[in-house]
Symmetry: C2
Subunit: 691 residues, 2 copies
Amino acid sequence: MVKPVKLAAATAATLALLVGAAQADEGMWTFDNVPAAAIGKSTGFTPDAQWLKKAQLSYVRLAGGCSGSFVSGEGLVMTNHHCISDCIAELSSAQKDYQADGFLARNRAEEKQCAGIEINQLVDITDVTGKVEAATTGKTGQDFANARRTVLADLEKDCAGGDDKLRCDAVTLYQGGRYSLYKYKRYQDVRLAFAPEAAAAAFGGDPDNFNFPRYCLDMSLLRVYEDGKPIASPNHFKWSREGSKEGEASFVIGNPGSTSRLRTIAELEFIRDNVAPSFLFWAQERRGRLIEFGRENDDRRREALDDLSGTENGVKVWRGRQIALADKDFFGAKVRAEQELRAKIAADPKLAAEVGDAFTQIEQAQARYAQLYPRFIMLERSRAFDSELAAFARLLLRAGDERGLPNPERLREYGDSRLPALKQRLSNPAPVHAELEIALLSFSLTKLREQFSPDDPIVKAVLGKRSPDQVAEAAVKGSKLGDPAERLRLFEGGKAAIDASDDPMIALMKLVDQAARQARKSVEEEVDAVVEQAQARIAKARFALYGDSIYPDATFSLRLSYGKMQGWTEPDGQEVAPYTTIAGLYERDTGAAPFAIPPSWEAARGKVQMSTPYNAVSTNDIIGGNSGSAAINAKGEVIGLIFDGNIHSLSGDYGYDPRRNRSVMVDVRGMAEALRTVYDARHLTRELGVQ
Amino acid sequence: MVKPVKLAAATAATLALLVGAAQADEGMWTFDNVPAAAIGKSTGFTPDAQWLKKAQLSYVRLAGGCSGSFVSGEGLVMTNHHCISDCIAELSSAQKDYQADGFLARNRAEEKQCAGIEINQLVDITDVTGKVEAATTGKTGQDFANARRTVLADLEKDCAGGDDKLRCDAVTLYQGGRYSLYKYKRYQDVRLAFAPEAAAAAFGGDPDNFNFPRYCLDMSLLRVYEDGKPIASPNHFKWSREGSKEGEASFVIGNPGSTSRLRTIAELEFIRDNVAPSFLFWAQERRGRLIEFGRENDDRRREALDDLSGTENGVKVWRGRQIALADKDFFGAKVRAEQELRAKIAADPKLAAEVGDAFTQIEQAQARYAQLYPRFIMLERSRAFDSELAAFARLLLRAGDERGLPNPERLREYGDSRLPALKQRLSNPAPVHAELEIALLSFSLTKLREQFSPDDPIVKAVLGKRSPDQVAEAAVKGSKLGDPAERLRLFEGGKAAIDASDDPMIALMKLVDQAARQARKSVEEEVDAVVEQAQARIAKARFALYGDSIYPDATFSLRLSYGKMQGWTEPDGQEVAPYTTIAGLYERDTGAAPFAIPPSWEAARGKVQMSTPYNAVSTNDIIGGNSGSAAINAKGEVIGLIFDGNIHSLSGDYGYDPRRNRSVMVDVRGMAEALRTVYDARHLTRELGVQ
């Protein structure tokens, strides 16, 4: 076992920086452009159309932002524990804390509904690039943004055809070089079958996050119901009994959220100089407040846990990215790569004419973005209103306004095809914690004043003669939006109901709504539209130069990654082996959180097979959003459950380093041994075929 | 009145970026190189030797890091309220909260001693460049660092001559291009005569910090005693009755702490990519923890206040610097300036030979620094041990070890000339707050684990099988170092007493002492020594090219800044007037902290002269450390008391922009009116000559 080290950026020479073709094991490939030959060469197995179709239909997306997959014929879905922590918190009570104690349904009747979880199964992909281009050709700026919004809304609506059980998402690929329409089957009755204790799922907590060797049982099992009964799921991945071996092929199917590998240097500099510092500045204070809030007593610690985990994860991600973007070798290689691409374009008169001043336009748009960013992020992205109640208030306020407009004219998230998901969100009975709400809203109002100055008209409108604490307390304590029934009443009542409401949180959000909308409009028209059109021209040049050997940046759409079970060598020469064992978990236990194993594992000492592989790494190219993805072998059997990347993967937003970028998974053998021996869940191991 | 805006960096064209001669009103000049002609040209007044000598002797330094000045013949010293907040906290009790209520001694007998404050009066400056060069010529790396440490320690010791009432500091100027020896008279019996309420002194709090228009009474009056009686201070600045007018000359005498204007681009990139992100990452979480700690109840809020103010100030400073260093115009101008300097050097064969590869050496040293920095900052700069008790423990531990060595071989801060100040620090009776200590030490131990990983040997040694909370609680609750008598006992007992001690905080600091010393040694030898020698060569080239028309970077040594009372024009065209009035304070009052005026000012409504100038700005080039500096007119009369810079001054670490860089002062007329009318302190206004 070797010690994990902090991000040491790769040297430029061996980095795949994606002007040209991807290198071995690199890429998050769309299912309509799978590099079969390269896969065969790297793994010895070449997937065919049937294999791919089954993989696509066995996979599911959790609408909140994770991946999952069917693992039995009776609707059983495997995903991470950290993907369903909202549900676990919501099912818990003062009497029964499933976060602390874990949850196991002994039979179907005991399975408990996760009201906030929607599961989507991708049933169809259609290329709609031609339709989008036809609708937007010759348009720029505001006209382009409007035309594009209209055509995408129409495409999504026509695709769903008014069927609430379908959801269609228009997906932008290659920064606007291609558009696809993804049609999903929606499942809203999702129930919890199994979740281990948080202490087992997230053993090592934030200190071990993004590190390896690792010892986490970051898994959960859900079941999808329809009409009160488990659905049939003939397309599913079986669990492998044998598991994997070092060097064996590993395929990861899931929804990587977002990467920036095809972005220009101007865009990356914007991220380095604006997005990363701004996020970390905000998140680190939020983190400190949440930790100290939770140190007060156990109830508060529980209430703050979810926000804290999310914040700490974001902090680690963005600190890693910041380090990668400040690394002279890494960023220098990106700069040279863009110079090469631009030289190749310049050398081809036809391409040069088509691309025109695209790079300069993007650069100018970033300079404009730097001016717009603070208001955009504070007002429209709600960094100034860090409160669930405030989010509900804005949703209701805007739903009231937007539903009065024709579908194509609405903000995209209020399009007809998105309304069922909004309604589900509003009806989620998860409790809102008033003290935590006040603490966070007060924090974020302080940030608003700090960023805009006490003399800014928005700040004066929001605070008046009161302090952030006073405003937060009045809005939270006076609001009834913690009650799902009240939220649904206002949603159903539409604009008239909102206008009639005297809820102070709605009043607060009304104060800033026009300014927030304006901030968004400016970014969409002056930045996004410009960048997207320029990037589309660059994308065409890339296709011309490199053909289909490139993959689009991740956009939370379905992707296939291929690779091998493999450790890596640290820059200082230390070898990191690809597997850990359950024995390592017991060795690492200190008895003090976050390195304390729960009582169930204490009790299993002596019974559990200590040599069982527990966590593992592979060369798969993944990123946030892939959480909950199954890792499968060539036979389509589950060999692991992705839950993290190693520390070197944090530069993966901008490029893939095959030497050290690794995905981290729970080994299927560790999951099976835990269910069998620690949790005595034989009914589940039987269903999974690994009893 | 116009609204303050956030830092908008200046355009490159008009920036003084200091390869060449300084421009009008720029510079923090040493008293042995005052640009008399330039001053005459800008202000209409040319100071002579007598004027300068009186200014030097009227000024004092607060050993903790502020400036001040004598303002009467009976030892009365004027400085900022925020410079003595430690003393105010220490004098306060549950019965009497001077932070909230202010303090006024009605007569000398009521003046209360500030045990932690030492006041130094600069009596002599000697150029010792030749001696340092003679001792270090031909040496590099470790040899250079040792030789330099030895010669500086010898110089300081010889200068003080064993007299506890003197303190001598060797001062490095021009990054090693010159060395001076500053001899100070030390005063350790300093008593508080007047301090307003924190609500008046820091009206507007963090939101208004670095902003203008401003409404702060950030002043305090101390009195220096010797042998139980006020000292005679024939050299002092009288308060002006008339105050200043727009356009009038303003001279600021004080101790600017540190600037980086002569640093190379490689050094600035190191600051941008390492120092700033690392500080903000740490400070923002600390800030969040302190705020939430204080939200619990009023006692805690008071306990955390000082740490919080310091952290928030640091955050604003470093965020401003980060923005300046990321600004393409600002930083681009610095890059071009260095290119010009290097071109001029290259064009002169003799200079080129002398400078050699100095720039490259600095660049390589920065790359090495990036590797060493995390351990250096966490262990040696105690970012991992955020606790007053831990600081005492390290001081005692090292004092025990170091005093066993010959003076020149010791760490500089344990040299014979520094021991009286150490002893004063140890005897300070200010209470240590256990809950706050535990919270901060736990926080910082978490950062240690986060930065080094749970598997690092230092982390394992410090935490063992315990959590940061457990380690912090055990060390704080078990330590007796909160008691000044115990600290003095251990100090006097030397190494034997430390070895015999079972204080858990000393045990904790012992665990990391060797690693911390090693981290420091590496930085001193592999970075500092290399940079200093290379910078000395560059400095000689600068002298050859530009003569005495350049000033050294600030190093917390006495400097003169000249300028004029003057507002500025914002980039968006808004004019900011140079003075605010007391009327503006009442207008800005909201009743909610930090915009709530205290009861004394409420009571003075109707009595106080509303049109009295209250705060003001001038073009003086200042920076942190200048807090408490007097602003004087050509007659040597106090026209104001510096307490801040405007938001544009935050880029002042790297360059001075005469268009917008402004210092912020309390106007002397506002101070006099407050003492007269609000605080009824006629005995003080009489002593100040403005009754």
